[in-house]
Symmetry: C2
Subunit: 198 residues, 2 copies
């Protein structure tokens, strides 16, 4: 029961959604998340609580909805000139973002929701970022591992550690990147959508 694009996109409905999302973001900054309630959010957003109950069902779903928006990447991976550099920089930034209190909370919110569509979205966001790095690598003529290899070898260990109590260290993260770039079979450079010289 997510408040997604399958509802009226225009006018008031959209305004309410934006207002509620803003209220959640504001309250999460201001106070402890355990004290954030739907009536409070409703008051802050200037809507009645029943609107939120009917649209989102429970606080958990609303929080997941807000969290996934904040987890959406807002920029392209930095271009360092090499695949290794790109992946290292991106991974370190990703890890830092996710390890932070806010990142952890957002991830928790996304995973705690009954509906796992938001979790899938997060996975898709990450894959897109890595795909961009891979495309750049291929355009340069560099080899690059499969997306799945990067997900398994770099992203999954980082997320697992964050979720299950360990803070992954910078050194560990660098090792993960090194391993996936060297110890796993890399895909030879190949055309992305059109051959490089057609």
């Amino acid at each position: 029961m997510p408040a997604k694009e399958n509802l009226r996109p225009g006018g008031r409905s959209a305004r309410v959604q934006a207002s509620v999302h803003n209220a959640v973001r504001l309250l999460l900054k201001t106070m402890d998340r355990a004290d954030v309630t739907i009536p409070l959010i409703a008051a802050e957003a200037g809507v009645t609580p029943s609107t939120i109950y009917r649209r989102w069902g429970e606080l958990q779903e609303l929080l997941a909805d807000v969290a996934v928006e904040r987890l959406r990447p807002d920029m392209l991976p930095i271009d360092t000139g090499s695949a290794r550099g790109d992946l290292e920089v991106w991974t370190e930034q990703y890890c830092e973002e996710m390890s932070s209190g806010i990142g952890r909370d957002m991830m928790r919110d996304v995973l705690a929701a009954q509906d796992n569509a938001n979790a899938c979205k997060c996975d898709a966001f990450t894959r897109e970022q890595i795909a961009l790095i891979a495309e750049r690598a291929h355009a340069r003529g560099e080899a690059f591992p499969d997306i799945d290899a990067v997900m398994d070898g770099v992203v999954a260990p980082i997320i697992y550690r964050i979720l299950f109590g360990d803070q992954p260290s910078i050194e560990r993260v660098r090792d993960l990147v090194t391993n996936v770039l060297t110890a796993t079979p890399t895909r030879p450079p190949q055309p992305v959508s059109a051959p490089i010289s057609a």
Copy 2:
């Protein structure tokens, strides 16, 4: 605020805890988890709701508490005679258990709780199981990777996929095991606590 060992372990308190845990397990079997409420659990367990509120705080914590008990391994990893066999069999069983609806729900419950002590416990359970396999391997004189390498290379990818929407396939799981046993540096056999022939 977990209902842990830091409370009176004896008599009534323990009885209440057991009764509440049983009630939760029963209700989760019987009905949809969205309909399970604290007053309902209290009625089923024969205690007053306020007892549960005071001990666990919220439903989420109670569910996490119950889930972590169910995730505790109840048997030693099967001994197949070789490290590879042990790890393969254990991994496949682990993956199957965690991918099932119940496993997913339990993991969600553990991760959704404010208190991440339960998540740490789950991680510790898994490490212990792998450590047992490693010890057996070393006792046989076989090389075996570091626990961390297995966590990063096998466990993390499986859990990541389950949490973020993909069902890891048997083939993929086998590949993970093969990779960690071949492509990562393995630790030479070494005495566990006492030299093999002292």
